[in-house]
């Protein structure tokens, strides 16, 4: 009931948002171009107050040829959660950055760039976070190949 209310409240802000199935938290599929505006509204709306970007990561759906970006938002004063899901093309992985809304997104997005190669538009400092700058490939992509990596023998 509450989750439904939450979803209704967010859909009032962004009518394009669709509910993502198969999740255990209220999750909305948002078009990439509407992401920043929606996030800002979610943060500033006094009834929603999603002030904490709990985490941000990506999923590589290789078979469907797309990346799914997940933004897990939480509200510290109100204690509710919302996940935003953004799907982008695998060949052209560009999304707008959330740095201006959530400062921590700067490093979370650097991590996702490091692991998946997703490019964030307007990111102030888009560098690799964990790997060396001259690393070839993006390890968490499903088609990543590495001569160094050992497969488990079976």
């Amino acid at each position: 009931m509450d989750a439904l209310n939450l979803i209704a409240a967010v859909q009032a802000l962004q009518p394009d948002a669709k509910v993502r199935e198969q999740t255990d938290q209220p999750t909305l599929i948002v078009p990439a171009h509407a992401l920043v505006a929606l996030a800002r509204q979610l943060r500033d709306d006094p009834t929603l107050r999603f002030d904490l970007l709990e985490t941000h990561t990506a999923v590589d759906w290789l078979d469907e040829d797309r990346f799914e970006l997940l933004y897990l938002l939480a509200s510290v004063p109100l204690g509710h959660h919302l996940t935003l899901s953004v799907s982008i093309d695998r060949d052209e992985p560009v999304v707008p950055t959330l740095c201006e809304v959530y400062p921590i997104a700067q490093w979370l997005e650097r991590e996702v760039y490091d692991m998946f190669g997703i490019l964030y538009d307007n990111h102030p400092d888009l560098r690799r976070l964990f790997l060396e700058d001259d690393w070839v490939g993006f390890p968490l992509r499903k088609d990543y190949e590495d001569d160094f990596m050992l497969e488990r023998p079976e």
């Binding site: 790997l131 060396e132 050992l150 497969e151 488990r152």
Partner: protein, 224 residues
Amino acid sequence: MGVITDKLPGVLEPVPGGSVLLTAVDQLINWSRSNSLWPLTFGTSCCAIEVMMATGAARHDLARFGAEVARPSPRQADLLVIAGTIVKRMAPRLRTLYEQMAEPRYVMATGSCAICGGPFMYHSYTTVRGADEIIPVDVYVPGCPPRPEAFFYGLLTLQKMIKEGESIRHPGERRRPVLAALPEGMTLDDIRKEMQDLLSHDANVNMAAAVAEGARYSSELKDF
């Protein structure tokens, strides 16, 4: 993969042309080196808690071995304890640290990660599978992480190696990378024999006889 180019560490070598006096001096120096192993404060992950902190703390007290003088600068340290996972990005730094240390320097690999990559052996794109691919390792202390007593046993093993094998004229010569695969032209029997030679230096017990006797009993018991 790797090749063993040298003998196992810890084997006593006769010193060519060495005199009695020099041998005594050698022994004194080896004694002092083995009893004054100042570790470098270096730890990468979980093993650092057990091997660098818990051993130094009151319950186990590394100071009993004279090794509590943890030096933060590699120049003054004698012992590099590789406590934790070494990843590709850290590998050149580890090499630098090792090169910055002054001879004689000893290396202990503690925990599965430092020995062979441990839990991160498969499907990890960064973990170096064994610190001995980067720097020569003297003593391996297995465990994940090894309990402090296991570390002390490793330290005793290292002390034994220094007392028996190290010579001031050949600092660091015997320590080469040893990898998992067997080298060409070397059979398991060779290793067995070397190890038995090593064990037979233990003056108190006739280990060779003991091992032989044990083997005889085992073969008898196979008929059960």
